[in-house]
């Protein structure tokens, strides 16, 4: 009997040691090609840096981290298969969602069905209907689209704006964003003088810009995707949008990405646009500065977004949240981690974050910044403060809006 007990204890010790040797597997898909590929690659690099940093410190719970990421090509149809493979073949312990809403939405029923923790990654309201209690989205806009347009329209109201033009891509993110902007504009009593959608991937905006100019709006709120954003900025620079326009921009995806900023250069002057992080004094903190310094070296070598302001700090922060939760609970169990994430304020390099009941930031924070003083096409100038002056929200404000737009352009 004694020998049998001893044998069992030895076996248990051996198997414990074997588990301790096994890495903690973290899995995700990330758009590395397709529409969101540019941002996705930069975000992926940040997560890889987090994994390397943790492993350099000895891992989590005495186990190294193993990071498994597949390219979903920004194609929602591939995502269910990839996440099933991550869970059933690769046997990952923790899941991170891909960057973007369309590619995240197909995973939600899967994680709900299996009752798993999923860290969200800049998606929008994917949990609004499903209400999975183990979903935590690291996106600064929180639930609903009100946080996006608020600072832009507040600034517009202070300028005495009475009319607004809205142009939006006929695509998921842009439509959600403009829905929020419309609601705020309506609440502020602004008159809609132009409100049209355009087909996604449009390249010629001359007729739309002419129509907007003819409507003589005070504000122009644009909800567009990267290629369209670049085309709109070019069209506005070529044709002009009219002297009545006080502010233009708002929800233009892509104007946060270094390659587009570099390509457009001084054409960006005067545009006001949403962002997640800009190098202004109200957003500066040593951790982000140190991270971006290391990131820019790696980004250069790996030929991804050299600035990395929009997504990389937030992706690194996803890793930091997992690290904090796993270390504090000494567990990788979804239920335990989710309970911790719900009740605890998470300390990350992008700020302290609390999640609301649907797993979104309880205090959204979307800075609207005005491009100013951009000269030439040197990407390094965007690292300086004062090139993207935050005009709202008040807590982050670093300067007043320069208006009208024609004045700000110069």
């Amino acid at each position: 009997m004694k020998i049998r007990n001893l044998f069992a204890a030895a076996l248990a010790a051996l198997s414990f040691a074997a588990v301790a040797q096994q890495p903690i597997k973290i899995g995700m898909s990330m758009p590395q090609t397709g529409a969101l590929g540019g941002g996705g690659k930069a975000a992926l690099l940040a997560l890889q840096m987090w994994v390397e940093d943790v492993n350099a410190k000895g891992g989590l719970l005495g186990r190294k981290l193993q990071f498994i990421a597949y390219d979903d090509q920004t194609n929602p149809a591939l995502v269910p298969g990839i996440y099933t493979k991550l869970l059933d073949v690769d046997k990952v312990d923790l899941l991170i969602a891909p960057y973007g809403t369309n590619v995240t939405a197909p995973i939600m029923p899967l994680v709900k069905q299996r009752d798993l923790l999923l860290m969200g990654n800049f998606s929008f309201d994917v949990n609004a209907q499903i209400k999975h209690d183990k979903w935590f989205n690291n996106a600064p806009w929180g639930a609903g689209a009100l946080a996006w347009g608020g600072p832009f329209l507040d600034a517009g109201q202070k300028l005495g704006a009475k009319t607004i033009a809205i142009m939006a891509a006929d695509a998921e993110f842009a439509q959600n964003l403009c829905t929020g902007a419309r609601a705020i504009a309506k609440a502020k009593g602004l008159q809609f003088v132009y409100d049209q959608n355009y087909p996604p991937n449009s390249v010629d905006f001359s007729s739309i810009i002419r129509a907007v100019r003819a409507a003589k709006p005070d504000l122009v709120f644009i909800c567009s995707y990267p290629a369209e954003s670049a085309a709109i900025v070019r069209a506005v620079n070529e044709l002009g949008v009219g002297p009545t326009v006080q502010m233009i921009g708002g929800g233009m995806v892509g104007l946060q990405f270094a390659p587009i900023m570099e390509a457009l250069g001084p054409m960006l002057n005067g545009f006001v646009n949403y962002n997640s992080w800009v190098p202004e004094k109200t957003m500066a903190n040593p951790a982000v500065t140190e991270f971006l310094k290391r990131y820019s070296v790696r980004a250069k070598a790996e030929k991804v977004d050299p600035l990395g302001y929009y997504l990389p700090p937030f992706n690194y922060a996803i890793g930091q949240m997992l690290e904090q939760a796993v270390t504090a609970t000494k567990s990788i169990d979804s239920k335990v981690l989710a309970a911790y994430l719900h009740k605890t304020e998470m300390k990350t390099m992008v700020g302290n974050i609390r999640f609301d009941t649907v797993g979104e930031w309880s205090t959204p924070r979307v800075p609207q910044a005005q491009f100013r003083g951009i000269k030439g096409k040197d990407i390094e100038q965007f690292r300086e403060a004062g090139k993207q002056v935050i005009i709202g929200p008040a807590a982050l404000k670093t300067g007043d809006i320069i208006a009208p737009f024609d004045k700000a352009r110069n």
Partner: protein, 311 residues
């Protein structure tokens, strides 16, 4: 015919018994995609392979099936079987409309018109807010599926049934007078008309059947994905795959699209989780070019060349 029925029953029995062998749900996700490709490729081949009318708008037929199913589920909570029938009917109707185009358009002009149809329909869906419009619509799967281990396994079996029906229909078309008529249209439509082949009737029938099968393939799409949005539903990838697979497998025989879909679909699934990049689209493109240049009759043609039938 008996052999085909026996084979089909065997395939379905195999699909039904898969859960006993594979516990891993990933297999069923990947298998579903391959089966869906078989349906799309087979359906495309009925109009494109037999009649020679190249359809670039497969994504539209697929999406019409998917969105019809979603709309009916949202309105009346119809079960999946009825959703598939409705999706097939709607896409069949669209196929009939596209068939009418053949009255005026042939060759490349017909192909361009099918792309136009896809773009018009995508724009309609983008602005149809009841089914989510541009924002997309999440669709929750049932938590329990009677008789099946999971809803994924159930969807895999449903797609296997649709695939068997599609291949059966294609085989019937090919081996009957309809197939002979369609081949006559492909070779010389004017001569076929003069010889008494009811060309319009046959083209309309082929386009309707082809569309209906693509719609049936699209109907369970929203349940498979748990989400639907226009960009992926109308994706040009559907059209590229539907066209490439029969060309690679061989367009002259009903088994050609099946071979092409199994081969290419499996390669795509493997590439997605190994090389992990857009290379899987490149794989399709490169194989397409290689086969068009080196083996215009596809794998079947190669097989026949190296293993000719003894006379």
């Amino acid at each position: 015919m008996k052999r085909f029925l026996l084979g089909s029953s065997g395939v379905l029995a195999l699909a039904a018994s898969m859960p006993l062998v594979f516990q891993n749900e990933y297999f069923f996700f990947a298998g579903y995609v391959v089966l869906q490709l078989i349906v799309l490729a087979t359906a495309w081949n009925i109009l494109g392979g037999y009649a020679g009318y190249v359809n670039f708008g497969s994504g539209a037929f697929f999406a019409v099936g998917a969105y019809t199913a979603v709309a009916l589920y949202k309105a009346f909570a119809l079960p999946l079987g009825l959703q598939i029938l409705a999706g097939a009917a709607a896409a069949g109707l669209l196929g009939f409309g596209v068939g009418m185009l053949t009255l005026r358009l042939r060759g490349i002009f017909f192909s361009i018109a099918t792309i136009a149809v896809a773009i018009v329909l995508e724009t309609v869906v983008l602005n149809w807010h009841y089914v989510g419009g541009a924002k997309g619509l999440p669709t929750l799967r049932p938590t329990e599926t009677p008789f099946f281990a999971s809803h994924t396994v159930y969807l895999f079996f449903v797609m296997a049934v649709i695939a068997v029906i599609a291949v059966g229909a294609a085989r019937y078309v090919e081996t009957s007078w309809i197939g002979r008529g369609l081949r006559a249209i492909r070779d010389n439509e004017g001569a076929a008309e003069c010889s008494g082949v009811p060309t319009l009737k046959l083209k309309l029938g082929a386009a309707t059947l082809s569309g209906a099968l693509m719609g049936a393939a699209g109907a369970p799409y929203a349940q498979y994905l748990s989400f639907i949005e226009p960009t992926s539903a109308f994706s040009l990838n559907h059209a590229v795959n539907a066209l490439a697979m029969p060309i690679i497998g061989g367009m002259g025989h009903w088994i050609g699209p099946v071979i092409g879909a199994v081969l290419l679909g499996t390669v795509q699934q493997v590439v997605t989780v190994t090389i992990s990049s857009e290379i899987n689209v490149l794989v399709v493109g490169v194989l397409l070019v290689v086969f068009v240049v080196a083996a215009p009759e596809g794998i079947l043609g190669l097989f026949r060349r190296f293993f000719p039938r003894k006379k």
